[in-house]
Symmetry: C2
Subunit: 152 residues, 2 copies
């Protein structure tokens, strides 16, 4: 009887789509075993694992990042509450950083609403050198403030 949960059961209990659970397996986030008929069977601990995935996604982590965190869980045994608590602390720092960035952005915006400039000449709303605020890769400038386009 205690031979694991089917993918449908796991889907009902988490609210995830069956296809999403299969996708997560493909991404290495969960590792079910197979029964004699080749169907996936999951441990009850996978419920918690998927909960972690769902929370981490809310926090803006990518699946590879989440996988990296999950890989820090003990291999041989079912994770304890202490294991999960340790992992959860990693969220704290990332979340703090994100809040800090957004708050800084908002404060800059506050200073900028009065002038309406949207330019690096007068406000610091957009600073390409601020690594914390940058997600992309290429250099991007506001109002034509390209390095070689120095204004006289």
């Amino acid at each position: 009887m205690n031979d694991g949960l089917s993918i449908g059961a796991l889907a009902r209990r988490t609210g995830l789509a069956v296809s999403a659970i299969r996708y997560y397996e493909a991404q290495g986030l969960i590792k079910p075993w197979r029964n004699s008929g080749g169907q996936r069977r999951f441990e009850r601990a996978d419920l918690r694992r998927l909960s972690f995935v769902m929370i981490a996604q809310q926090f803006g982590f990518t699946l590879p990042q989440i996988r990296a965190e999950l890989d820090r869980l003990p291999g041989g045994r079912t994770p304890t509450k202490a294991d999960w608590a340790r992992i959860s602390e990693g969220f704290r720092a990332a979340l703090d950083a994100r809040i800090t960035t957004l708050t800084k952005l908002r404060d800059n915006l506050d200073g900028c609403i009065g002038c309406g400039c949207l330019s690096l000449e007068v406000c610091a709303l957009y600073n390409p050198r601020d690594a914390a605020a940058q997600m992309g890769q290429g250099p991007r400038y506001l109002m034509g403030d390209a390095p070689e386009a120095q204004k006289r």
Copy 2:
């Protein structure tokens, strides 16, 4: 001489890729005219327009949302600083809401690290009914807290 900027000039001054600028035109964010040879020519005001797009993207707005904001600019004349300031105020509320959501999330996480539960039984880290924290569409539950799977 003052017959507008080429797409390459605009790209150099903003740091955007030429292909991105063409894409923005296709999305209706900018409306260049064409010279006799069929090449795009841009107004200097488009530098500011693209700056707005870049900032708004940093804030997490989608291109259709940004377009909606830009559509509120006056049609017949070059936008003034006051126009831009009016538009920028819209950012304020959205940004405030996002910071509030993240802060609430972090505070819930703080309460949860001690117990390691990651479950709705003991912590409120994940609340599917909290519209502010939800981006997806389907119902999703933590640790199997599906409505029909009521625990005794």
